[in-house]
């Protein structure tokens, strides 16, 4: 019964989405306010229907209803409750249902929070969101129904793929989808603006919170996925330039560019056409990511067997939305005249450079990700593009981006001189140069990590310089506190996000110095690595709720003192046809991770691989700080009330040039 209810709710959502697309647009065309006003209740209704459908699926998983195929294929009664729920979106059908639920959530949020939007714009935005929902609901209903029944019911489920039974991966898809789907809203705003033929500062102000929220969630989602790969796959790395990872990086790059160019639209009414194009691209990349992951066209470590008809369907959706919006763009964009003029060396100029580099990076990642597919289809060549390609091709673009990133926020709008900015950054530069010198002195000629540390300190220093300058910490220390309180939260957010990237770079540079070794040890034997003694104490069998494992106990000592005890495992899941997973044991501290993996046993010896991952946790802590920066920026008064902050706060502090600075 519950499955049929869910299926019905899904069909209802489809009907509501259809109405949400047609009625408001018809209303706009006829100038009928009542029809336009129908958009918001319809969006809320669609949200309710999607939530009911998703709730029905969760219930089916929670009670382990084995007459539902999806439950049989992806769950098992012996699984912990968290993974029963996570299993609901850990498979293709469920994850697409989550996709449409989050899309409906975004539509509901626009309907709920967008009361101040002009009626026509709101109607158009909701109609476009309805159109996107329509396509994906049709996709779920036609090719990926999560509520299919099986008769007779199976005695029990087949279990969830064990590598997915992990708290990190339970929350990875929802966060990632919040990011992907968040760009549907900026997309809808862009299409609505194109229909309207007008983009102004107010439009920029409405779009920016959505771009910010989507970006923050996407940052968290990517970081969580990378962290999961780090501790669950047991390879000791954090980013593999895997096609599926790239698929999430593409919207992030385009979204980061969008975030920055939307500031220019809001502040200076320039770069309008470009911002529209970025909004279309960011969502296009989100759809591409969904297509790449869900169609199974990619050969990836994450690839799961899948059905070609689904791929064709998503490809068709991708074609319709991207080609349709780009055609609309080509038709309408020339009508939009830029107004704000600026000199090449200015805040706007720096943001243009940022956009240029981010988009060039996205182009490189796109080429590297898709080329193997095209080579296979067109040239019948089996090739793959690995980390060496991306590292060589991306680095020359990342370097100038990072260099400019510290200086950009210090440049005034319209026109700037470089010298005063560099004067405020001299100590950050000194810090970076010091890092290179120290690195080369202690770790030998390792240019990669040395430059990484330099870039990290340059960014963190730049963020601090930006903040101390804004609150005039050194020039007028007495007034600093009140200035800090008066500083818009968006300014704090931007500095946090830039500094957060610096922290992530710190971790990545540290990982450049990481070392690992491999040894076959008997219990009682000791392995020396990275200044630590790793003593294998014993090997034993242990049992968990739905697995049994072989566990090694490894005591890690430094100069005779016990640092930690690690217990790496190889788990075997009887429900999943005896599949085994490697559970790396990690001791985390702020200076780095001690990481141990148990390999196969040979007679009385066990293969042990140990890593010393210097500064590794900072990669994800940095991403967390970046997302926090985004969240802080979202609470800015200007965004909350959708109105400019009162200038009096800033001008009262008596710092003239700063009034035109962003915020």
């Amino acid at each position: 019964m519950i499955a049929e209810f869910g299926h019905f709710a899904l069909a209802l959502a489809f009907a509501l989405a259809l109405a949400q697309t047609v009625l408001p647009l018809w209303g706009v065309a006829r100038g009928d306010a009542r029809l336009m006003g129908a958009a918001a209740p319809l969006a809320l209704g669609q949200l309710l229907a999607c939530a009911a459908a998703f709730g029905a699926l969760l219930t089916a998983f929670a009670v382990n209803d084995t007459s539902v195929i999806n439950v049989v294929q992806n769950s098992h009664s012996a699984k912990p409750m968290l993974y029963k729920f996570a299993g609901a979106w850990g498979n293709h059908e469920g994850s697409m249902l989550l996709w449409v639920l989050i899309l409906a959530l975004c539509g509901g949020a626009v309907a709920g929070f967008g009361r101040d939007l002009p009626g026509v714009l709101r109607a158009r935005v909701l109609a476009v969101l309805g159109l996107v929902a329509l396509g994906f609901l049709a996709f779920v209903l036609a090719t990926s129904n999560p509520f299919g029944r099986v008769w007779p019911p199976a005695p029990d489920g087949q279990g969830l793929n064990p590598v997915l039974q992990d708290p990190g991966l339970a929350f990875h898809p929802p966060l990632l989808y919040l990011g992907y789907v968040g760009y549907a809203v900026t997309f809808a705003f862009a299409v609505a603006a194109l229909l309207e033929g007008r983009v102004d500062a107010a439009w920029g102000r409405w779009v920016r919170p959505w771009a910010l929220a989507a970006w923050s969630f996407l940052t968290l989602g990517i970081a969580l996925g990378s962290w999961w790969a780090y501790y669950e796959l047991g390879w000791g790395g954090y980013w593999f330039w895997d096609p599926v990872e790239n698929a999430s990086l593409l919207p992030w790059l385009a979204g980061s560019a969008l975030l920055h160019s939307a500031i220019v639209v809001e502040k200076r009414e320039a770069l309008k056409i470009w911002t529209l194009l970025l909004a279309l691209l960011a969502f296009g990349f989100s759809l591409l990511g969904t297509f790449l992951v869900r169609s199974g066209v990619l050969n990836s470590v994450h690839a799961f067997a899948s059905d070609p008809s689904r791929g064709t369907f998503i490809l068709a959706l991708l074609g319709i939305y991207v080609a349709g919006s780009l055609a609309l763009f080509a038709w309408r964009a020339p009508a939009m005249a830029p107004t704000g003029l600026f000199a090449p060396l200015s805040r706007e100029g720096a943001l243009v450079l940022n956009n240029l580099l981010l988009c060039a990076m996205a182009a490189v990642v796109l080429a590297g990700t898709l080329w193997p597919m095209f080579a296979d289809l067109l040239l019948d060549q089996k090739i793959s593009v690995g980390p060496p390609f991306f590292n060589t091709a991306i680095l020359p673009l990342v370097a100038p981006l990072l260099l400019a990133m510290a200086a950009g926020p210090l440049l005034p709008w319209k026109r700037a001189r470089l010298w005063p900015v560099l004067q405020r950054l001299w100590w950050a530069a000194l810090l970076a140069a010091g890092a290179v010198a120290v690195m080369l002195a202690f770790a030998g000629w390792r240019t990669g990590p040395a430059l990484g540390f330099a870039a990290a300190l340059w960014l963190i220093g730049g963020a601090l310089a930006d903040l101390t300058d804004r609150i005039a910490l050194f020039r007028r220390p007495a007034a600093a506190w009140s200035r800090a309180r008066g500083l818009p939260r968006a300014a704090w957010g931007a500095a946090l996000a830039h500094g957060g990237l610096g922290l992530s770079l710190l971790g990545m540079a540290g990982m450049g110095l990481a070392t690992d070794t491999l040894a076959a040890l008997r219990p009682g034997a000791t392995l020396n690595h990275a200044g630590y003694q790793w003593r294998l104490e014993r090997l034993e069998d242990v049992a968990g709720p739905n697995w049994t494992a072989r566990r090694a106990t490894v005591t890690v000592l430094r100069d005779g003192a016990v640092v930690t005890v690690l217990t790496p495992e190889r788990r075997s899941f009887p429900v999943a046809a005896g599949m085994t997973t490697t559970e790396a044991a990690i001791h985390t501290s702020l200076t780095g991770d001690l990481y141990a993996v148990l390999g196969e046993e040979q007679g009385d010896r066990a293969v042990l691989r140990v890593h010393h991952n210097i500064l590794a946790p900072w990669i994800w802590l940095g991403a967390l700080v970046m997302a926090l920066g985004g969240a802080l920026s979202l609470t800015d008064r200007r965004i909350r009330v959708a109105a400019p902050a009162p200038r009096s706060v800033l001008s009262a502090a008596g710092h003239g040039p700063d009034v035109s600075r962003p915020t």
Binding site: C359, V364, L518, A519, A520, A577
Partner: protein
């Protein structure tokens, strides 16, 4: 020195061209050195990758070929042979084999082929579930005549080790 609209348009086109040009140039240069080809054992003679070039070797792990030894530095080393029927390549790998590494099953290894004919793998790729076959391996199986897609699904992974190499296809 604010720019007029026309000047600015020229600037934008120039900048966009520069960005696109740089991206293309970087991509092409990096492609030249870093594309990793996938080769089945029987492709190696004709493609002759050379000892400097890393490539991905894919096929079935020959039954009974897995042996564990030690490198001169005392690190554990796995030796096995990868076959697609006509040709078999010996592989050495220093590292922890993936959880689902089995004799008789598909495998993809990244590494370089030494002058002595030994393939030194730097990475042996894991698969996420029992029923998943790397597409390249499936393709290699089709080409070597072990699996005819017209006759249905690929042979289940558990029975692959009964797929003996076919000697009559030698030289193909």
């Amino acid at each position: 020195m604010s720019l007029t609209r026309k000047q600015r348009r020229i600037w934008i086109v120039l900048l966009a061209g520069l960005g696109l040009g740089t991206a293309t140039a970087l991509t092409l240069t990096a492609f030249q050195d870093n594309l990793v080809f996938f080769l089945a054992p029987s492709d190696i003679a004709s493609r002759n990758p050379g000892p400097e070039r890393a490539f991905r070797l894919g096929g079935l792990v020959e039954s009974g070929s897995l042996a564990r030894g030690e490198t001169p530095e005392g690190k554990p080393e796995a030796r096995f042979r990868v076959t697609d029927g006509p040709v078999t390549i010996p592989v050495t790998y220093v590292g922890v084999l993936p959880d689902l590494f089995r004799e008789g099953q598909g495998v993809v290894a990244l590494g370089k082929l030494g002058r002595d004919g030994q393939f030194r793998a730097s990475e042996v790729l894991a698969r996420h579930d029992e029923t998943y076959m790397p597409p390249e391996v499936a393709d290699a199986l089709k080409r070597s005549g072990h699996w005819d897609p017209a006759k249905g699904a690929p042979p289940p992974a558990a029975t692959w080790n009964t797929l003996a190499p076919k000697p009559e296809k030698q030289g193909g």
